[in-house]
Symmetry: none
Subunit: 216 residues, 4 copies
DNA sequence: TATGAATGAGGGTTCATTCAT
DNA sequence: GATGAATGAACCCTCATTCAT
């Protein structure tokens, strides 16, 4: 399956750029894996290089230092932070939300770098900017979804959308693993229900599910 | 010239134990201040000792290492994490909650170690345990408050209290500073309202404020 | 766009050897320029190659290492060290010497490698030999000039020509820039006068300038 | 002979400050020895520490880096650069100068750092300043000696003292080792004679030695 | 006990040199 | 030949920890 072996007689190479790209990616993946496993400060450039199967010096061909690798890593992976679009207008918002949450929590969990970042933020404003930007995008995405729902007259009419988006983000952003001792199957349903109660007045929820029932 | 040498046969002001205790405290406070300002990894034992006005070696008489100082520090300060008791039963739960939130956010903000901790957790399970324990206490406190309210029939009747407590904790634990660009005066009110909507059905909120009005 | 590719069936302008020679020269010139600007130790092979417009590896086709390039460089440029022939017999030796000095100081100054070499000498006897050889040639040139003047009976009759040549070399070799704060226009004249006093007894100087006056 | 062993029962220490000073000195001496032997760039901080019998880190307690050790070293040793006071007024200036030269050349030779410095000067202006200052002191010392002789009417009356001092400095500063192949016993005498010819008109030299003869 | 000088392993980074393409 | 990515030994420097005083 290796890209290096095709036909007879070996053509053992990718064009230069691709090979370099591959190496760069290997370093990013190694950085990711090791930051994830051991934390950022505890991981050395040497280790990352070794894990990627290249020499120490090669690390510095692709990245000016460890920090810059982290930045690249984040830019590559930051999409993971974005929650999926939430369809508030669906006939059954609780279920829809629950399934969105499940997908998102899994992605977040898979992207295990959240706990690596906080200490760095205070001393690295560029990094902070990258993350802050990601956060703003999440917030905006939630905000816009809610706004559409609001325009249809579905939400509470005295909502502060900014605060609400933020609160949802807080819930969405923090994995379930914190209290994972319980890990009950209905967790996503329960969270979805809570969030819906912040968003919709009860009558809307009833109405929506009635539509749902009729539609069946 | 030392404080310890005056006249003959001087009495040290504090019994030995107390003086040692004072030194220990000075180290903890210095550690706290420096971790806060520069981050945990960026702070050296020497700096902490210097800041506390003792010699480097003295640090190691009181703490086996930097990590252990952090643990002690947390045990001293962890109370700050605990939100104040929330009086869900108050006649005006939104206002009561808003004011509790404000107090708590301020305390959390003042305790600036939150951003120092996460990376350490992954490699130090003992530390994780300390924090997890704090978290459990917060959760329990919220949980119990809600339970009492539930027993009075005030809350939604299909609540999963565990999940709800957790969601409130997520909102409560994460400072407002994240989206601090807005920083509107009504922020606490808005958050409190959202939380109350997760907890109480509308009619209860109406009822409670009616009581409130009548009481006046 | 390369110079090598124009039309079909292009003739390379230079035979292979010449092109190689050109590359070699480019490397030497680049080495010279960079050693001059940044010092020997501070200049990397990569930089020299880049400055010469060739790949790093190409450097090592032409020179076994950086040191060897320096040697070649010196062999190319060492002529600059040689002071111009000094015409002691001229009717006005002071003026003649002054003008020779001016020319030589300028050449020495333009060849800015003097400050690069000394440290290398102690650890590289081959390099030391190259420079020592250059020095011997300078010494010999001065020595022979003086000898001719001596044979005409013009110099002090108790001169040790070896020592005198050496002393002149010391003065000639070290630029004026050391005490350049003064930088007076008469500097070369003054030095020339001093040197002439080491070489000629006063009466010869008088005699020579008398001839000079008569000749006019 | 060690300072550590006196009497019975060992009193194995110097007061703290002295021990620190001793260590600092050991480092300076080691730096000196190694710079001398291998050159500045070729000597590592680790080596200096090892040679001084201390750990690498100890080096950095006493010096911020290698460069700073060099500066201290120079400040310690720079006196060696200063030639001894030259007594131009002595009855036999050639002999007096010859003996001064011999002393100075030996000192210079013993202080083998001259060849270490030049490359550094171009990139380290602080270091350049230290050396420039030393040079100025040498120049001033020679200058003043000459001035006194001039005031007594002993020297050529059309001397530019600045240039003359500089020329003498060039001769004095550069060891004999350059052309050391010859190394004849009369070398100092010969040089002294040359210098005296730059300074004194012949009649003064004659006069002075006549005085000398009479005094005997 | 308190001190702070000393330790030395280990981190980040550079660069002369090689070698597959 | 020419290329330039890759190598890895070696550099500089830091700092957690020890220990003689």
């Amino acid at each position: 399956m290796s890209d290096d072996e095709k036909l007879v007689g070996e053509f053992p190479f990718l064009p230069k750029q691709e090979r370099a790209q591959a190496k760069r990616n290997a370093l990013i993946e190694s950085g990711y894996a090791l930051f994830h496993k051991k934390g950022y400060e505890q991981t050395t450039a040497k280790e990352i290089a070794a894990h990627a199967g290249v020499a120490t010096g090669t690390f510095y061909r692709y990245f000016s230092d460890k920090r810059q690798l982290l930045m690249s890593l984040l830019e590559d992976k930051i999409e993971t932070f974005l929650p999926p679009e939430i369809s508030w207008l669906s006939s059954n918002p609780v279920d829809a939300l629950a399934s969105s949450l499940e997908i998102h929590y899994n992605r977040i969990h898979e992207f295990g770098l959240r706990h690596v970042l906080p200490e760095l933020l205070s001393k690295d404003s560029e990094l902070a900017a990258v993350l802050d930007n990601a956060r703003k995008r999440i917030h905006a995405r939630i905000f816009n979804g809610l706004k559409k729902a609001g325009e249809k007259g579905l939400t509470w009419d005295d909502l502060d959308l900014d605060t609400l988006s933020w609160a949802i983000m807080m819930i969405v952003e923090n994995g379930l693993d914190k209290t994972s001792q319980s890990e009950k199957p209905s967790a996503y349903q329960d969270i979805a229900k809570l969030i819906c109660r912040m968003v919709f007045p009860p009558r809307v929820l009833v109405q929506l599910s009635k539509n749902d029932a009729e539609a069946e």
